[in-house]
């Protein structure tokens, strides 16, 4: 090899460049990707909240169940939950250094996001498919 590589790394490893977690810049990239997609989706969500403020049970159910609302709401969930899972993981990794507590919290972080996603998606789909 022409280049000087002081690390004990094969050229194949180097060119793949995925690091010890084998995901390369994936975390960074998905954080940015969802940051961008969050902007229109969160604005949609805020608009929906303004429109639904003060509406009764039946009206609210009808609005959420409408495909024009249900679909962007599901997309917003996917984008926001992915984004916040990555964000909380960084916070945990920055402040928690215990060999036991850190992986436990990183796992709980994923469980929390999956449960919030499942509950919310179930609710939206239930209303979209007819209450």
């Amino acid at each position: 090899m022409a280049h000087e590589n002081s690390k004990m790394q094969t050229p194949l490893r180097r060119v793949r460049g995925l690091g010890t977690a084998h995901e390369g810049t994936g975390h960074f990239w998905v954080q940015r990707l969802t940051a961008v997609s969050n902007i229109p989706l969160v604005l949609f969500f805020v608009g929906l909240m303004i429109a639904l403020d003060g509406r009764n049970f039946a009206d609210t159910r009808a609005v959420i169940g409408n495909p024009i609302v249900a679909l962007p709401l599901l997309l917003a969930l996917l984008s926001i939950l992915t984004h916040m899972r990555l964000g909380m993981q960084v916070i945990i990794e920055d402040y928690v250094h215990s060999a036991l507590l850190k992986p436990v919290l990183v796992m709980l972080n994923t469980f929390y996001v999956v449960v919030i996603g499942a509950v919310s998606a179930f609710a939206i789909l239930k209303l979209a498919f007819g209450g």
Partner: protein, 133 residues
């Protein structure tokens, strides 16, 4: 000679009690705090969605709670938290393009995130009051 230097009162680096946090530092910390708060705020959204889908009594409970002064305060704070994290996020996206990192610009942009987030929060709640009122 070295004895003298060691016994002389040493100059202290800016002490925490008299240290004025730069706006960029404050906005950096607030970005993380608002992100953490929004993380737990999604519990409220999931609760509300589940209530709308499955339980009228839960839905009415949340609706009535949201109309109380404390409920409104929490929702206004939630709105600002969301808007501020969004503005901070846009600032990060600008930084990713290697713009706005110069000292004076970064300070101006940091102040701008605060001003814009407060303005947007006011606009959102003005819209709520205007459409209902």
């Amino acid at each position: 000679m070295s004895q003298q230097a060691a016994s002389r009162p040493r100059p202290l680096s800016p002490h925490l009690t008299i240290y004025k946090p730069p706006i960029t530092m404050a906005m950096s910390i607030i970005h993380r705090i608002t992100g953490g708060a929004l993380y737990f705020g999604t519990l409220l959204v999931a609760w509300w969605l589940l209530a709308a889908a499955t339980s009228q009594s839960q839905f009415v409970f949340l609706s009535e709670w949201s109309e109380t002064i404390i409920g409104r305060l929490i929702l206004v704070l939630y709105t600002w938290t969301l808007m501020h994290h969004m503005m901070g996020g846009i600032r990060h996206l600008v930084w990713d393009t290697v713009h706005g990192l110069e000292k004076n610009n970064s300070r101006k942009i940091a102040w701008a995130t605060l001003v814009v987030s407060i303005t947007l929060t006011a606009l959102i709640w003005a819209t709520v009051i205007w459409t209902k009122g």
